[in-house]
Every structure is written in structure tokens, then in C-alpha cells.
């Protein structure tokens, strides 16, 4: 079984500043993946960044980067040069192989990010 915990229900950041969203997870699997998804008010869940657990190097995607601490089971998201369009709910999720070629996502409860102009 997997669990994902996001302890910050809401966060705010000034435009152009940097913000870090926290996430911890628990899994008994050795083969797993971690994700950050963004859900703006339009509801569409958008993949922000993906991290393979077997890779030590932290993933980056333009202004988005993660700090993956495997031993601590921590997976935080850093957003640099925050923009108004970054305002959304951010969900941390884990995915592990669950048999029969299947991966299923387990989500945290989300962090609502506000960007202040």
C-alpha cells in the first residue's frame, strides 16, 4: 500500500519569487515513481514533473524542480520565478507496480498555491 501526505493545505508566493511545496510518501515497493500534478480551476490535471525512484538525480522541468530524498521519503517541488499562471492546486502522487502490468496512482490531498502580483 502507498500513502502520500501533503502537510501544507495552502501556500502563497509573490510573483517572480520561489516557493517549495512539501510531500512525504510511504511505500513498500522498490520500483516506484513520484509525480507532481497541477490542477487549475479548469479542473484539468496536468503533469508537472516525474521522478524515477531508482534515479538519484533530481528531475527538473524548466522552472520546476524536485528535491528527492529517498531515505527520508520526501519529495518536494520547487517553483522558481513564480508566475500568475502557476496558481493552482498541486497534487503529489506516487505510482508503484501493482501486478499484471498495472501501475496505479495514489494522491495526496493537495496544496493550494496562490501567486500574489
Amino acid at each position: 500500500a502507498q500513502t502520500v501526505t501533503q502537510s501544507q493545505p495552502e501556500m502563497s508566493v509573490q510573483e517572480a519569487e520561489t516557493v517549495t511545496l512539501s510531500c512525504t510518501y510511504d511505500t513498500s515497493e522498490s520500483d516506484y515513481y513520484l509525480f507532481w500534478y497541477k490542477q487549475p480551476p479548469s479542473r484539468q490535471m496536468i503533469l508537472v514533473i516525474r521522478q524515477e525512484a531508482y534515479k538519484q538525480q533530481n528531475a527538473t522541468e524548466n522552472r520546476f524542480s524536485v528535491n528527492f530524498q529517498k531515505a527520508a521519503k520526501s519529495f518536494s517541488l520547487k517553483i522558481s520565478d513564480s508566475q500568475l499562471g502557476d496558481a493552482a492546486m498541486y497534487f503529489c502522487a506516487s505510482s508503484a507496480y501493482s501486478g499484471a502490468g498495472s501501475y496505479q496512482l495514489t494522491f495526496g490531498k493537495g496544496t493550494k498555491l496562490s501567486v500574489i502580483p
Partner: protein, 115 residues
Amino acid sequence: DAGVTQSPTHLIKTRGQQVTLRCSPKSGHDTVSWYQQALGQGPQFIFQYYEEEERQRGNFPDRFSGHQFPNYSSELNVNALLLGDSALYLCASSSHMRLDQETQYFGPGTRLLVL
């Protein structure tokens, strides 16, 4: 490159009725997963379909059933609707043939309101 599409966008039903939601996966994808997202919560896994069969199922009652068609599109059916079934239903697709088979891409969702 067509993304994941879902229909309808909104739906209003009354308790006891039945509902069918539809999903077309992203081009090149063959696996469809369904999630229920209650207001203010993260999505919860309902089930996953591959090769027209249910491959994995989350902790949802048998009132929730699904189907996958030969063109990989999928339906989610909910019978005997309860007020608590009101939620955003998300469809996600992936491909077992790709190196990133664990990565799922989501559609815009169907908002179901049960009165």
C-alpha cells in the same frame, strides 16, 4: 496529438439513477484508469482497463463498473446513485508499450452532481 477527452463535462442525476461517463484515451495509449475526486480531496483510484478487461480495482463497490472498447475508449457506469457519488470523475490514459508506462495523462473530467 489529441489528448484525453471525456464526455459529458457536467451531469445532474437523482438518487437511484444510473449514469454512464465516457473517455477516449490520448493517441497511442491503450490503458485507461478512472479516478473519483471529491470536493477538496485528491483523486481516488476506481479501476484500470487494459485489453478490454479490468486489470486493477480500488476500494469501490460493485455499483461502479466499467468497460473498454476495442478502440481503447472506455466507459464508467455507476448504478443506484447515492448523494455521496457527487464528485469530479477523471479519466487517465497510459501505454504499456512505452518506457513511461507508469505515467498517466488526465482528461478534463466529468462533474457529476447527484440530487
